[in-house]
């Protein structure tokens, strides 16, 4: 059973992509994960396939996939850039995405190729309007 939107957690200090990933600016890098809404839709995540460090993707590209027993969901880049770090802990603990999607459930760190793209991402309220 999925939760009502009001039961989910959406934080203020990140930016949201309409494909249900989030981006958090950390200096000149961007940390990326999926939103609480996305993890709730997926239910119990049993595997997260992530890209290799050094690969580059454009905004909107599929960079990996999250798999639960019921479904497989593509993960989409909120910004263009090069992958500089991946969350290797998810290999052993994919449930972190369910339990802490904005914390230990982060997925990749990107060196953004076009900072303007950050301005095109959604604020919390805009994202909430999209999923309501």
């Amino acid at each position: 059973m999925t939760k009502a939107i009001t039961e989910l957690n959406f934080i203020d200090d990140i930016l949201y992509f309409h494909e249900h990933t989030w981006a958090k600016v950390e200096g000149d890098l961007v940390r990326v994960g999926i939103t609480d809404f996305a993890q709730d839709q997926l239910s119990n995540i049993i595997f997260v396939e992530l890209p290799n460090v050094g690969e580059t993707y454009r905004k909107g590209d599929e960079f990996g996939q999250a798999e639960s027993a019921k479904t497989v969901s593509a993960l989409y880049m909120p910004v263009s850039g090069e992958i500089v770090e991946i969350n290797e802990e998810l290999e052993e603990a994919p449930q972190n995405v369910n339990e802490d999607p904005y914390g230990t459930g982060w997925m990749i760190v990107v060196k953004p190729g076009n900072l303007v793209e950050l301005k095109e991402l959604l604020a919390k309220e805009d994202y909430l309007n999209q999923i309501k």
Binding site: N44, A69, E91
Partner: protein, 282 residues
Amino acid sequence: MSFTIYTATGCTRCKIIKQLMHERGIAFEEQDMKAEGKEAFQKFYAANRKAIFRGPDGVEFPLLHDTEAGNIHQGIGACVAYLYGGGKLDSFFSVGTLHKEWVDGIHVSGGNSEDAKGFLEVLRYIKKTNNMKLQLDTNGLNSAILEQILAEGLADVIIMNVLGPKELYSQILGKEVDTAEIEKSLSLVSKFPEYKFQTTVTPVVRGDGEIRYLTTKEVGGAAKLIAEATGSMKNPYLIKLFKPKECRDERFKDIEAMAADALLPYRTAARAHQVFVEIEKA
């Protein structure tokens, strides 16, 4: 043998396999992916995900892991077959995608005719002992098994893949085929309470070594073969698109897919012999 069975809470098929293992005195460890076995299933999935089939509704349960032999069987048919036959019945079964009381992924032509006894025992266990409904498929080989299935009422639905016209059968299957057996199967299939013939417009390795799709004339020939063997032009008959990406034969993976509307002339060619022919919708 040492077994772990991965199940989902409330999964009827999982209960059937566990019951069979109890009946046969086979020890096993159960991991329920929705309960205490969540973490164990997660690890098993991560280590074996390339070998685990996902249908339209996700991972199909149960998953039976023979930890000594290192093999995995998935779905009710394949699991029962492995417990009955220890591997020799494997090629009669695949995972299947039907749900509730229906079981598919049962291939009459998939295995050796010498293993008919074991194959039929599996069908009886699933259908008669556990009241499931069976959808079987055949390409016409193993007609003697088909005859037994018909006699015992072991199939609720049967689908026959008519590979092409008579003269192409050996070429398509890559081995010598007695076409009289194919004709016998066509006739038997038409006697089941619910049946369907279908032809996939597949690529064929031609005599000159080139790979070309079945022609409209050849599919017309398949429809004619059905008419002659069954004595009827009014059989349910479906013409399907070949999907290169889903093909296991490496030779055909890179062939260009046909557009859905390319099937229209095939339907026209087949209609001369089977008036109820339909084409697969894209």
